[in-house]
Amino acid sequence: MKYAYFPGCSLSSTGIEYDLSTRETARVLGIDLWEIPEWNCCGASSGHLTDHLLSLALPARNMAIAEEAGLDVAIPCAACYARSKATELAVSNSAEMKQEIEEVIERKYEGKSKARALLDIIANDIQSEDVKNNVQKELKGIKAACYYGCLLVRPLAVGFDDPEDPQSMDNLVKSLGGETVDWAYKTECCGASCPTTMPETGKKMLERIFKSAKDAGANCLVTACPMCLNNLDMRQGQVEKAYSEKYDMPVFYFTELTGLAFGVEPTKLGLNKHFVDAMGLVNEVLKADGGRETA
């Protein structure tokens, strides 16, 4: 199984753990990731919020390079995925759009190379049996609130799962031996760049997510998006302060959990890089299995 890999800007900085754990997970599962050489930023929400054509053209260059290599593109970041998918669909649905985009990027792109969400590949393409067979440490003690955010499954044409009650990530966590909770904020927006630009609004949006997850009995959140993780992880303390409430809710990338279950060293996955301490829960999981303790 070989994919062109588009990590996106976040994964080389704020989302470094996502990149690390993605590569580890792919290695175990035998997925060959070929990083698109000299890929450019997809423009994420800023392009999309600013100019329609630009928002399609930026991802198109990356997709074009992948198409030259004859590969579909695996994309971990939900925002990058949504933008790239939108480009793929725009090009395949309209010959006019295809031409305009090709003129703008000065390359050929026919929509043959498909944008694929990494979660979709790992949770849905790979048989859960194959995943289970690679599990070395069952994730006993993980009670995850799987948080899909808004971009991964919306709108319907882009999403690969149900927009109101998606299950891909839940099923994946379950095949790793963890538990998941049924909760209501799975696909509610985390505020995207809102917490940076409009902190008060942003905090309120986050507060509801933490509260709902906690009330549902979760002890951690799992995401597939660096923007979501940053908001949920980095700002959790701020929100706790503002609402005088303790959540203590480590936030994982789903790839960190696969990596962990596949027996990868936690530091190799970047699990020590989180703002809300994740190692406590990680160690509990490892211990529960009678495994070793890591610092």
């Binding site: 927009p163 109101e164 209501a184 709902s212 009330d215």
Partner: protein, 660 residues
């Protein structure tokens, strides 16, 4: 050569004041075939008609053209007139020189006269080509079929039976009663549904003219108005109806329990059951899919306990064919399946229920004995949220139309919550409140004023569980603020949709249905209970969302129409129908889908061809169904179809006459 007589009418000065009628008559003398032409003050008057009759005899006429007013006015008059002189009625043609000439060209007398001449010439040309046609008679079977035994079907059957006609009611469930049997109280008066429905059910079952054929379905419909041959499948009941007394012992002993459809799965029934205690007929059926005996061959307890030996596991479905003069479809509706609403929990939250669940919850004989308890934990809810227009008025997930009854039944439910639960709060999310009907607006206002229901204008965006509460989030569009309610129970006013198999039934009967699969009426205003298929009528919610008063009114209207049809032993059929020239029909079938009345079928004929018998397909027009529109004639590339009285030849003769 035909002998045509032309009669030009002055209509007092109506025509004569503009058109030079004498000149028209004189000109007509020269038209091919015309042997006699006169003008007269009033053709439709006694003397005018006498003039025609006399001329027919004296001039030995075999065609008559009357140039006068519109045929929409006096065609029947002149047809009768020539008929009484022994001529075939269809040998008479009219030229409309009043509405289409003198009245619209009053200032241009010469031109009007010239035009009148042309119109007469066209009519003469057509008349010469006319063929004698006879109105045929077909026998009418004095027996009606009602499909569906809800309130609409019951009402129609009672009206027909009281008028002296024999009626069969086919109901697919083990009992008649329909949705009204499930409803607790009825708006706008809040009288108890059972109190007004069950007497009607009993009347229907005891009426000597009514046969209830329950647990049965229509399999096939052949024939046409007056003579429908209907095949009915009587599903095996596994009970000998002639022996069973309905004592109910079997039902109490049956060990196999399943969800009760009648109780909206809120309680259980047995595998041998009647849907509800007042069922009619009050004799059980065995639900074979859930009976242990039918699944494993073991059990048979019911058979053992039945002292009358009424249980018969060997019964088989029975097909009966009966002839009916008319059919009323009254198959009603179903509730929209709201599990497509992910944002309302995909139908997974037990405390998010539909209006019909709610009816069962407040019904004194329902699963909770009329105490409103929420399904998840049996707690009495304090905050109840109603969401209207679920599935209705929602093009993205449901149906574009308004279901018409839910505004009213939601108001009803709100009053009942407030009456039954002390300190309860009712919130109703609505987009519009539609209360067209006598006493309806007053009812709604009482709900707000006296029962203090909170009406919130907005569509709910999401319902989700938080602990044991359901959080309902919507916008109060009048305040432009998002609002949230912590509800104990949420009731969805789900859309009324036709029965799942409605389109299939429509195809069997040969009636139309709209894109939502409601049956289509012949005309939305002036023929609301008729269908395009003569002899088939509609009643109740199968034609579109309707409440009980409307369903009953429509049922009585349909019954009146059927009475009109069945009151005579024969009916006349219009002879202006399409005909197939079998010798040139190639059996391509292009005409078949064109006919809006499904009057054309292909049939096989045998022919002698050089001494061999060969079989081939040809089109066959059913005279009972054809309405004479002529659409098929144009579709036929072989020109094998023609419309009587408006044949290609006749129309071309008119065209030629105009031009030469």
């Amino acid at each position: 050569m035909k002998r045509v007589g032309v009669f030009v009418c002055h209509c007092g000065s109506n025509i004569g004041g503009v058109v030079d009628c004498a000149k028209v008559a004189e000109t007509a003398q020269d038209y091919p075939g015309v042997v006699y032409a006169v003008d007269n003050k009033y053709m439709c008057s006694e003397p005018g008609q006498e003039l025609i009759k006399k001329a027919i005899k004296e001039q030995n006429l075999d065609r008559v053209v009357v140039a006068s007013c519109s045929p929409r006015m006096h065609e029947p008059t002149f047809r009768r007139c020539v008929e009484s002189a022994g001529m075939n009625a269809y040998f008479m043609e009219m030229a409309n020189i009043r509405e289409h000439c003198s009245w619209v060209h009053s200032a241009e007398k010469d031109k009007a006269t010239e035009k009148s001449c042309d119109l007469v010439k066209m009519a003469v040309a057509k008349a010469i080509m006319n063929k004698p046609l006879q109105k045929a008679t077909i026998p009418v079977t004095d027996r009606a079929l009602v499909i569906g035994g809800g309130i609409a079907g019951i009402q129609a059957a009672l009206d027909l039976a009281n008028a002296g006609h024999v009626v069969d009611v086919v109901e697919k469930e083990p009992s008649i009663g329909g949705k009204m049997a499930q409803i607790d109280k009825t708006f706008p008066t809040l009288d108890c549904s059972a109190c007004i429905l069950t007497p009607k059910m009993v009347d229907a079952s005891s009426h000597p003219n009514i046969n209830l054929i329950t647990y049965s379905e229509v399999e096939k419909v052949d024939g046409f108005v007056g003579n429908f041959d209907v095949t009915i499948r009587k599903k095996a009941r596994s009970i000998d109806m002639s022996v069973c007394t309905g004592c109910g012992v079997c039902m109490s002993k049956c060990p196999s329990k399943v969800d009760s459809e009648f109780e909206m799965n809120l309680s259980k029934r047995r595998a041998i059951y009647t849907p509800f205690p007042q069922a009619i007929p009050n004799k059980p059926v065995i639900d074979r899919d859930n009976c242990t005996y039918f699944k494993t061959g073991k059990c048979g307890i019911c058979q053992k306990v039945c002292t009358l030996d009424a249980i018969d596991f060997t019964q088989e479905d029975e097909l009966v064919v009966t002839r009916y003069g008319a059919i009323i479809t009254a198959t009603g509706f179903e509730q929209f399946d709201h599990s497509v609403y992910g944002e309302y929990g995909y139908g997974k939250y037990p405390d998010v229920i539909t209006g019909m669940h709610f009816e069962r919850l407040i019904n004194a004989s329902g699963p909770t004995m009329g105490k409103i308890k929420r399904p998840s934990d049996g707690k009495v809810p304090k905050n109840v949220v109603f969401i209207k227009c679920v599935g209705s008025r929602d093009e993205a997930k449901g149906k574009a139309y308004c279901s018409k009854t839910c505004c009213m039944y939601t108001a009803k439910h709100a009053t009942l919550v407030t009456e039954k639960i002390e300190d309860s709060n009712v919130y109703i999310f609505y987009m519009d409140v539609r209360t067209g009907g006598k006493g309806y607006e007053e009812f709604y206002n009482r709900t707000r004023e006296k029962y203090a229901a909170q009406y919130i204008r907005g569509r709910v965006s999401k319902v989700f569980k938080q602990g044991d509460k359901l959080i309902v989030r919507g916008e109060d569009t009048l305040l432009s603020r998002a609002v949230e309610i912590e509800a104990d129970m949420v009731v969805l006013a789900t859309a009324m949709v036709p029965q799942e198999d409605a389109s299939k039934l429509a195809q069997k009967i040969g009636i139309g249905y709209d894109k939502d699969h409601f049956f289509t009426e012949a005309h939305p205003k002036l023929a609301p209970v008729e269908t395009h298929t003569q002899g088939v009528y509609l009643a109740g919610a199968c034609q579109g969302p309707k409440d009980i008063p409307e369903s009953v009114a429509q049922a009585s209207a349909a019954a009146a129409k059927v009475c009109g049809l069945l009151s005579k032993s024969e009916m006349l059929t219009e002879p202006i129908i399409s005909q197939v020239n079998e010798s040139i029909c190639v059996g391509c079938g292009l005409c078949v889908p064109i006919c809006p009345y499904k009057a054309i079928d292909l049939k096989t004929i045998s022919e002698r061809d050089h001494g061999n018998i060969i079989e081939r397909l040809v089109a066959d027009v059913n005279g009972g169904l054809c309405q004479g529109c002529g659409a098929c004639t144009v579709a036929c590339r072989s020109a094998a179809l023609d419309l009587k009285h408006f044949t290609d030849q006749q129309i071309l003769a008119e065209v030629n006459a105009l031009c030469l």
